[in-house]
């Protein structure tokens, strides 16, 4: 029995150790905490399930393509329509620049002449919303964080998070809906 327990532990550790470097972005290593909220980059978030996608034209930043992914608690709440989101829910918003795709356009020109196709360019930043109704009681139960290249944005930036999300108060301050 002892041998089996040992084996399971060894296999578990081995799998985790093997998978860690594969799981994506360099910004996961020893993340710094965001000001005000103290949120760090959750390990493995690039492997989370997709909530939805969007395009946003941001003043001075050009068009961005964005994807929102969620941890298991967030995805379950989205699928079941649970509001407010339970403690432990984390939503990640990954933002990229948007660039035209010549490869795609050439192909689309056959069936859809003149179609403009856009793909992602480079990573801009990643943002997180972390639900902890006690710790973040003053901001609707959400802690916010914005990281560029693994480094958190400054205090002034993080002061804008919650006011910007207040229009979505009826949906627990979350703009994104689950894309079917």
């Amino acid at each position: 029995m002892k041998r089996i327990a040992f084996l399971l532990v060894a296999v578990g550790v081995g799998v985790v150790a093997y998978m860690a470097p594969v799981s994506g972005h360099a910004d996961e290593a020893a993340s710094l905490a965001s000001p005000i909220y103290g949120v760090t980059i959750p390990a493995g978030y690039r492997d989370w399930k997709l909530i939805a996608v969007k395009q946003l034209l941001f003043a001075g930043k050009g068009e961005q393509l964005r994807a929102q992914v969620g941890n298991d608690i967030a995805i379950k709440a989205f699928k079941e329509g649970t509001l407010p989101f339970p403690d432990g829910a984390i939503i990640a918003a990954i933002h990229w620049t948007r660039v035209p795709s010549e490869d795609n356009n050439k192909v689309l020109d056959g069936p859809f002449p003149g179609t403009q196709s856009f793909v992602i360019g480079t990573r801009v930043n990643v943002q997180f919303m972390v639900k902890d109704s006690k710790k973040y009681a003053a901001t609707g139960g959400w802690g916010f964080a914005d990281f560029t290249d693994g480094k958190p944005g400054d205090k002034a930036l993080h002061e804008t998070c919650f006011p910007c999300h207040t229009p979505a108060k009826d949906r627990d301050y979350v703009f994104t809906r689950y894309a079917p």
């Binding site: 594969v22 994506g24 972005h25 690039r46 492997d47 989370w48 399930k49 997709l50 939805a52 996608v53 969007k54 395009q55 946003l56 034209l57 941001f58 003043a59 001075g60 068009e63 393509l65 964005r66 994807a67 992914v69 995805i75 379950k76 699928k79 079941e80 990954i94 990229w96 948007r98 795709s101 490869d103 795609n104 050439k106 192909v107 689309l108 056959g110 069936p111 859809f112 003149g114 179609t115 403009q116 196709s117 856009f118 793909v119 992602i120 480079t122 990573r123 804008t160 006011p163 910007c164 999300h165 229009p167 979505a168 949906r171 703009f175 994104t176 809906r177 894309a179 079917p180």
Partner: protein
Amino acid sequence: MKRIAFLWGAVATLACVVSFTAPLSGHADAAPVAAPVYGVTIPPGYRDWRLISVARVGAPLNDLRAKLGNDVAIKAYREGKLPFPDGTIIARLAWQQVTSEENNNAIRLRSGTETRLSPEQVKKLLDESFVAGPPTNVQFMVKDSTKYASTGGWGFAQFNDSKPADEATHKTCFSCHEPNKDRDFVFTRYAP
């Protein structure tokens, strides 16, 4: 031996849990109907696969897209493996782009208080900001180098509301992907 029996019980329980959660997993893709030409069916649980990348196509399609991959696909992408190994499946989801009043309110708020844009500038921002609306269709590429040897090792499928598109549509798949032969006929790159 008893312990093993217990383990099997646990596995059976897990199977029940899985079958219970199945209806939650997104698109109404219950009864699998095979697509013409390639015989590809909708892979169960694909909506829960990991994200490869996102894209947008302008007029006349006006949609937002996400590419998801099964574990074989994601591993190949991250390791830069070409050609993709057998068992790879790539799913392309697409939704109509729609404007979101909630999002637009946030943009207006931010534009007014922070960046002090003119109403014309704000309108331009709103005109180019979209979220995913109703789904349009979902497409799959399934790698099987033996079965699909004559089409670069890929089987193709498109489903509209879980019904496969017609044979004529499926005859366009491979020829459209052919220009990207150097990347194993796959257009999408992994988004960092």
